[in-house]
């Protein structure tokens, strides 16, 4: 596995974009509806899904981890890091699995990812708070995930169509 210069640059740009998006979404705090520290909409998932499709799972994972670590570094709280990383990794895992099914569209993959993202954050909350009662928030978060997942799917489908001619995933860069 080797990252070409082009791919590396693309990964870096996408990671920066994801970081920007996760900062942007802090302007729309879900915490108003769900009073848990660190729970987020998951807008940055747009980048993850996009990367997953045009670059592949390893690259998407690298972008995700970079985004989470840098985001955690900027916010300076370990809790935020745990939340975003656990949420992100859950989403990643589920999306990699779902994407392998040729029958699902971008929508199905991103909705599944968003749901997994929120489930992962609840898991993080259970771990950091040591209290399983927070699982009671999961239904609300899953409802939110349906909406954000669809939105993410919509945006990514637009992106994929718009960038199809660029051949970002040309064979020479793929494994």
């Amino acid at each position: 596995m080797k990252f070409s210069v082009k791919k590396l640059a693309l990964c870096a740009i996408l990671a920066a974009l994801a970081l920007g998006l996760s900062t942007l979404e802090s302007l729309f705090p879900v915490s108003l509806a769900v009073p848990l520290p660190g729970v987020k909409l998951g807008l940055a998932n747009i980048v993850t899904v996009f990367a997953l499709y045009v670059l592949g799972p390893v690259e998407a994972l690298a972008i995700l981890v970079t985004r989470c670590l840098l985001g955690g570094l900027f916010s300076g709280t370990a809790t935020a890091l745990v939340f975003s990383l656990l949420g992100g990794l859950c989403a990643m895992g589920v999306m990699i699995l779902l994407q392998r099914s040729r029958r699902l569209s971008v929508y199905g993959v991103s909705i599944g990812g968003a749901a997994a993202h929120n489930a992962g954050q609840i898991l993080a909350a259970v771990i950091t708070l040591g209290n399983t009662m927070v699982v009671g928030y999961l239904p609300f978060l899953l409802a939110v995930a349906l909406a954000t997942g669809s939105l993410t799917g919509f945006v990514v489908s637009l992106l994929l169509r718009a960038t199809a001619h660029l051949h970002l995933n040309n064979q020479s860069d793929n494994r």
Binding site: Y53, S105, A145
Partner: protein, 134 residues
């Protein structure tokens, strides 16, 4: 693994509905678990009795019914547990504060006998207050 060799599906397929259904199902299940009819049935309370700083008894309130006696510092308390309540029935301590405190039945409440250093505390229930003043 050529995961990206075939063009990505950018329009919703009927199979996507399966994912949505799975998410809805998961949400409904947890909702039922947490907000279902039984969720707010009396959460089980644990009655913890400590004598002189040591836990002497810790038992679910429901299975702790009847009279229990505790002796410490030369005083003896008779504690009566019935119908989800705990009260100090009798104490030979001078102040009688513990007897006067009446019955407790909610999480977080406690009965304290200072001379005998007996503390009866009800633990459990998630909705109880964090601290009681008075």
């Amino acid at each position: 693994m050529r995961s990206n060799s075939s063009p990505a599906k950018t329009r919703p397929t009927p199979w996507d509905a399966l994912v949505v259904a799975a998410v809805v199902l998961l949400g409904a299940l947890t909702a039922l678990l947490f907000y279902g009819p039984k969720a707010h049935a009396d959460a089980p309370l644990t009655c913890v009795v400590s004598v002189g700083g040591q836990v002497a008894d810790a038992a679910p309130l429901a299975s702790f019914s009847g009279e229990h006696t505790y002796s410490h510092n030369g005083y003896t308390l008779t504690v009566f547990v019935h119908d989800g309540q705990v009260e100090v029935l009798h104490s030979d301590c001078p102040g009688q504060d513990c007897v006067r405190s009446g019955a407790i039945s909610r999480a977080g409440q406690s009965l304290v006998c200072l001379p005998a250093q007996v503390v009866i505390h009800l633990e459990g229930a998630v909705d109880g207050p964090d601290v009681i003043v008075g």
